[in-house]
Symmetry: D2
Subunit: 143 residues, 4 copies
């Protein structure tokens, strides 16, 4: 059995080592068993040519949230790596804040399937701008 | 018919407006009809928890290269938006430099299918670390 | 506005013209605005080498359900074609019956994003064996 | 090391056990290390509502070809299962014959990434109608 509080600590420690999340200004907002939220404030540095948030930013927080949702169900000493993901961009990512909400669809010892929705906050309203479906590979950490 | 030089100028102008590419330190390396390369130097700011380049960075340059490969075949006044992509991460993205090489598989007036491979340069050797397959939506720019 | 009953009739008429659905023994179980179910009884003719239902069968009913969920929200005279889909196989597809349940995530005039889950019924219990995320292209039917 | 002839025999034996391939009329055309071809003759039983080959048929032969391309590089006693795939449909699948040509992009002990292109033969000309990118899971067969 995985202890949820211990797992949340492991997720937070790992997230803190992701320098790219700091580069994006992304924060770990919530960790529950199989569910993780990652958010960021929209800034010009994150935009593409039409002034929307770049798909790479959207995929970065969606992928991190999905990977940590997978890690939150794995025992101590496990490492996770994304094997693959697919991202559908459903609306222009504009607003003041983005949040990626990931959930595990199927947890396995080796492969976990997770989904994440990314919402943009604009004028007090959330719009779903993207959805991710991915596969995360788990392995015992090499000592 | 699309004029390759004029199309390459449009791609370069659009790329220059992607602030996120500057944030990543990504450069447009090459634009030919239906083929675009985007590269960056690996820096700590782009890494994930194991010291590899973050999947979000890999997907950002692969997606930009694929989108601009699509744009390079479209007439003036066209805008492109990624509808969706899938990324398979095949090896840890480590090294000193990443380059995404995209090519159009099928160009359509509305939908273009493009692929991109991402290579990491380490010790003078290139390794393919990821491959993207995506769909790009083209539309006439609103004046 | 789309009339749900008229749309359900159009979906049923189109489904009846899919000879491959008859080949699989697949039936249209339910059509609501943006939601479609397609089911089949498992037979030896649909299996792969380990005795599970072949991924091609799973994707066929998931794709048909997703495409018709998209069509159910489009006006008369519209045709739909799948542009792409991704399917994650989460558990061996074994049992007596498979049902694909699709729902539209975002309906657009040209592009619709839809998801479908496929469940296998075994010993009175349903297991989710696969999930699809896809993009459907809509266009006016050529007269 | 994997013996190519022995691997080709294993692929052929496994393919022969896929009853769904017989249902489709699909044949194993070629097996080389990391490369497999599967073909079928187009018949009314395989069509969708516009008279094109159904996406489920296209994905079935592309997925089988990709899975067996993966198996062709694995040692005796290995079983393969598709973890996930993405299929882009690039042109209507019409003609007299379809062939799926798969190749391994990266072979691993647990995960293999493979791609497949599907071509339709019409009036003596081949058109690429779809491309698949997928992940195959390998494991030791349970005795």
């Amino acid at each position: 059995m995985v202890d949820p509080e211990e797992a949340a600590r492991r997720v937070a420690e790992s997230f803190a080592r992701q320098e790219f999340m700091a580069t994006l200004g992304a924060r770990l907002e919530s960790v529950k068993p199989g569910e993780v939220e990652v958010a960021l404030d929209v800034r010009p540095a994150l935009l593409q040519q039409h002034g929307f948030v770049h798909a790479g930013v959207v995929s970065a927080i969606a992928d991190s949230a999905a990977g940590y949702a997978a890690l939150s169900l794995q025992p101590p000493g496990t490492e996770v790596l994304t094997a693959e993901f697919k991202l559908n961009l459903m609306a222009p990512a504009r607003g003041t804040r983005l949040v990626a909400r990931a959930r595990v669809l199927r947890a396995g010892r080796t492969l976990t399937v997770a989904a994440a929705d990314v919402f943009a906050l604009q004028d007090g309203q959330e719009t779903c701008v993207a959805t991710l479906l991915g596969t995360i590979f788990s392995s015992a950490r090499h000592p």
